[in-house]
């Protein structure tokens, strides 16, 4: 990467732009974060501890953990496979598939949730069949997992497609000519080169999965201790005028968000360093 000299802002316009940015960041990002913590600790740390350790909070935490444990590994595998397919093979309808992968970004999460209700709800397309066989999807954990899977679909694939495209397939061809099978090529040649991208996409996917509200709220039915995830639990407590509880639970999400940011920054730094030491055209 070319070295760029960085300058201090010069002239009134530069300072004005800088000022607007600082005010925006402070008002939109920092202020809410501060408010969350102030409200959560309004009645002291003991109150905070009791709020985050209540049985409802713990069950919400467990459910969110379960969703993460199912969704993230699925998308790591699916994302690598889809990106591989999209960059290494030509097939009719490839453009359509690429667009479809982005669909969850374009559609409102509430609509995504509604989609699952329409498909699997009692009066939905598969509803009668599911009821006959005693399978519950909507207003149950499977629905929450499905809705989260849907809204987090693009993260890993989107991260890897440009990466794999840029790297080309020569090294894979070289490996094949040396007698390596598909598994050897994937695990010894391709994955080591994109591992930071895979992790990065996984982190983004996990962050979104943990924080998803809209889609999950539609399919959840908010059965206490059963189908309430952490973000939903915040809303439940807030609606019950338990403001301190709501903000205390929100701090858990804020912590996970901050941790994600830190991890993401560390990953980016690692990826940059890996790029530097292994060169660009190997």
């Amino acid at each position: 990467m070319a070295h760029r000299t960085r300058e201090r802002p010069r002239g009134p316009v530069a300072w004005a732009v800088l000022g607007v940015s600082v005010v925006t960041v402070a008002a939109l990002l920092l202020l809410p974060l501060v408010v969350v913590f102030v409200e959560a600790f309004r009645e002291g740390p003991a109150r905070w501890v009791s709020a985050v350790s209540s049985p409802d909070t713990v069950s919400a935490l467990k459910l969110t953990g379960l969703v993460l444990a199912l969704v993230v590994p699925f998308h790591l595998v699916f994302g690598v496979a889809a990106a591989w397919l999209l960059t290494r093979y030509d097939f009719p309808g490839k453009g359509i598939v690429l667009t479809l992968v982005d669909l969850p970004f374009a559609v409102s999460p509430v609509v995504s949730g509604l989609l699952f209700v329409l498909l699997f709800g009692a009066r939905g397309f598969f509803g009668p069949w599911l009821i006959d066989h005693g399978i519950r999807i909507v207003y149950a954990v499977p629905g929450i997992v499905l809705a989260t899977l849907f809204v987090t679909l693009p993260f890993v694939t989107r991260e890897l497609v440009p990466l794999l495209d840029a790297q080309g397939r020569e090294e894979e061809e070289a490996a094949a000519s040396l007698g390596a099978g598909a598994m050897h090529i994937l695990f010894r040649v391709t994955l080591p080169r994109i591992k930071w991208g895979v992790l990065y996409g996984g982190v983004l996917c996990a962050a979104r999965a943990a924080g998803e509200f809209g889609a999950v709220s539609v399919v959840s039915g908010q059965l206490r201790g059963e189908t309430v995830t952490l973000p939903l639990h915040v809303e439940v407590r807030y609606d019950e005028y338990a403001f301190v509880d709501a903000f205390a639970v929100a701090t858990l999400l804020a912590f996970s968000g901050l941790a994600t940011l830190g991890f993401k920054a560390w990953l980016e730094e690692r990826a940059r360093r890996a790029m530097r030491t292994t060169g660009e055209s190997g």
């Binding site: 020569e170 090294e171 070289a174 490996a175 094949a176 000519s177 040396l178 007698g179 050897h184 080591p192």
Partner: protein
Amino acid sequence: MSIEAVGVSKSYGAHPVLRDVSLKVDDGGLVALLGPSGSGKTSLLRVLAGLEAPDAGRVVFGGRDVSRHGVADRGVGFVFQHYALFREMTVFENVAFGLRVKPRAVRPSEERLRRKVHELLGLVQLESMANRYPSQLSGGQRQRVALARALAVEPAVLLLDEPFGALDTKVRRQLRSWLRTLHDELHVTTLIVTHDQEEALELADRVILMNDGRIEQQGSPTELYEAPATAFVAEFLGDVNVIEGTVEGDGALAVGRWRVPLLDAAPGSRVRVALRTADLELLVAEDDDACATISRVADLGEKIQFEATVDGGPTVRVHLARRALLTLERGARVTIEARVQRVYPA
């Protein structure tokens, strides 16, 4: 092992890149596939390797049809123009790769593997670099690693795709003669793709010249140079002036004031004449005899390049040995004499 292509055709969409190509490389031979970019030589090499499937035709290795085999089962060593080294692995691991991915039954022990890799690194004179990463090597070193890596699996044939294309002239020369020596030692059947005629002529026993998806001519370097079958071959090999015109009644071609006597050309026919810059001679002449003026003189080192502008005609390039510089300066009036000429129908 001999390499054979039989009636190979391939198109990308509506664009044909190989049109019914057949060729044979004898066991132990070193053959160059030469041609301008876009002539189909790299596509042909990739079809032979099994990296690309032809639309029609067969690939035969040592008498055995391998058309249905993938690249992993053909036993080819393939060397890419941009090396394609595994950048996450050290030089040692790059060379060892082909041995490590062998099925368990035929995989060498760690000790034998180490010995073999060091042997190969010695062969390409890179033993001291075993623990470096590809990014820490120069281009020439990287390409030698790529060669060692390809040789590690003891391929029956070696296919090289513009292996020296990304290197500077001096390193190219060194690697070229080094490759030739290596081939004389190992006798692996080798097919090398290049667009550099000098490389092809110097390196190969036989040269296959491709143009527009077809084989234009094949033979020894001398055959191709001395007896080019078509105007394309004549123009591609060596530094050539091409003049076009209609043969006059006395069997000569008139280009402005310059008359080029042709040996056997039918009067009235349109012809294309290829004249190598080294096959032309310049003679100082008086006003009436002269037909051209020296318009530019360039010292190329081993030879001097003169550009002679024919009165009422084109500018012709002539290469003369260094000592000929004497009297010919810019503005001198000359006649041009062609010692060797090749006439093709226009």
